[in-house]
Amino acid sequence: MQFGKQLPQGVADLYSNDYENKEYIIKQINQLTKLYGFKPIQTPTFEYYDLFMNMPGTLDPDQMIKLIDHDGKILVLRPDATVPIARMVANSNQPLEVEKLSYVTNIFRMQNGESDVFSRSFTQLGVECFGKKNRYVDVEMIALAIETLKTVGLQRYQIDLGQAKFFQALMDEINPTPELQREIQEKLEQKNEFELEQILNENHVNEKAKQVLTQLTYLFGNPREVIKKAKPLALNSDMLQAINELEWIVEQINGLGLSEYISIDLGLVNNLNYYTGVMFQGFVHDFGRSVIQGGRYDSLTEQFGIKVDAIGFGVYLDQLIDVLDQQDISLKNDTAMINVKSQNSIYAFQVANELRRNGYAVNLFDQKASILIDLDEKLISNHKGNRTFDGSDDLLKKVGQFYGEN
């Protein structure tokens, strides 16, 4: 018989182990962010389209999944995690010094053509820190990103740092039309040196700026080397300041003994209408997509009428699970299951509850449980053999021993 109930394209069930794995990773990262002082929050699953439509940001309005409200207004399923949080912070009346927020949330978007391998619904976990710009916060966020990937058991990974201000200050030198700037960014983002040069020539961009721009396609890799090469390229004080800021961050990260995890790419120029300072992406060795994306975005809340500086990053949880699967990093804290059997069902229930109070997992209906307790025969058994027990204290003791063997 053919199965009639298909799921829509781009969504998936997470069954038993898969969901357990996901929950486990979320728990590990949440524990970590909590230790850094982040408080979990939640925003609604759908909001007005207007909120996102004019937002400088990462999402194409065409890719948002839209609904029509009963009054004709357009709603969208949460297409981005940060914008609603910025809205929330801006709306809250409390005066805020520093607000450290964390979230685990589903993001929804349309697929971009038939070859798009991404889901239409994926989970993002992230942290946002609102409050007056502070360079120590930048360092802490980068360190936290490194720590996050370490926590889940990864070893070879790197956080690639960029600096939005460097490019923005460079653009001040040539005052491009929005169209030209978009083209420059696109080519730079692709490290497409020859086409970048073509565009710069066609638009008669001044020689100095042109040289720096083409150089930018090479300015990535080892932080110290890149900074050394970038400094002489600064054409104005803002560019120099941007580089100095980045250098300071790199030095701090080095001081923390985390230098092996960072690299720099000054050609990282996507989403520049969103980020205003340091930006970063997390890559894992032998995995073709980024698993972390973040940066400083000091002007986003201006869209909501107040100015609060902010920095944050998001972890693409589904990608992270893919990597961990691929690298065979075991996720599960596999809990042994206990089955309790007796003709007297009330007695079996009571013993099961007693065991649960002591922290053991009991499934009364699992015939394949790894530990079996037969109350009538006073026998406890696992795959290795069985032993008798005498009274509930002795049972607890022996369960503990059997548990250790699993």
């Binding site: 790197q158 690639d160 086409e195 890559f283 894992v284 060795h285 032998d286 073709g288 997509r289 980024s290």
Partner: protein, 212 residues
């Protein structure tokens, strides 16, 4: 040392690409054996060639299924993939063009219908010109469409223009020029930079030598 995967398309592009690889000392002798294998190891064992359809090169590279790819700019434009496009290899040169029956006036058509293998490229081109078009996606022999009344014009790659001429069509507008490009997965270029950067530099030099 981990393997580097290179996505290529069988045909002229692959043969020319192999010449460039050979110039930097990477040989795929398995390629020249008549075989239907889709994954071929290099002689040194450090590289692996995977053979895919032209339009899919960008997809494989974007998602990290291949670290490196070589594809025509035409397919890269159509796939619009998020990859590093590092080298213009200089071969596989041709251009995108709008073609139709001689004397056809694009400007006068109220709603232009365009048959093409590259609907994204065609739509973007006409959108920039502020022209409303209807694209019809075809998978080959695009020249036929205007002849049998399926569309007003076609958007296709043109090398010499001979196919067009023999079918009674002519180039109405040139769009952009095209050549083969070397693309690299963004994550790979960062995490495997010790292998990939020298590779890319080597290719760049080999290209300049063969051109100069």
């Amino acid at each position: 040392m981990e393997k580097i995967k290179i996505a290529l398309t069988k045909g002229r592009l692959a043969e020319k690409s192999l010449k460039v690889f050979e110039a930097i000392g990477i040989n795929f002798s398995a390629f020249y054996k008549d075989s239907r294998k889709l994954i071929l190891p290099s002689d040194c064992g450090q590289y692996e060639m995977i053979l895919v359809k032209a339009l899919d090169v960008a997809t494989y590279v974007e998602n990290g299924a291949a670290d490196i790819g070589i594809a025509g700019k035409d397919t890269l434009l159509e796939a619009n993939a998020n990859v590093f496009e590092l080298v213009d290899l200089g071969f596989g040169k041709c251009r995108f063009a709008v073609a139709g029956s001689p004397g056809f006036d694009i400007e006068r058509a109220v709603k232009l219908s365009v048959a093409t293998k590259y609907p994204r490229v065609a739509t973007e081109y006409f959108q920039q010109k502020g022209k409303q078009v209807e694209t019809i996606k075809l998978n080959g022999s695009v020249e036929l469409a205007p002849l049998v009344g399926l569309s007003d014009v076609i958007v296709d790659i043109v090398e010499t223009g001979r196919t067009l001429k023999e079918n009674g069509l002519e180039v109405l507008e040139n769009m952009h020029s095209i050549s083969a490009r070397l693309v690299v997965n963004k994550a790979s270029y960062k995490t495997k930079s010790e292998t990939l950067q020298p590779f890319v530099e080597g290719i760049k030099q080999a290209i300049t030598v063969s051109e100069g």
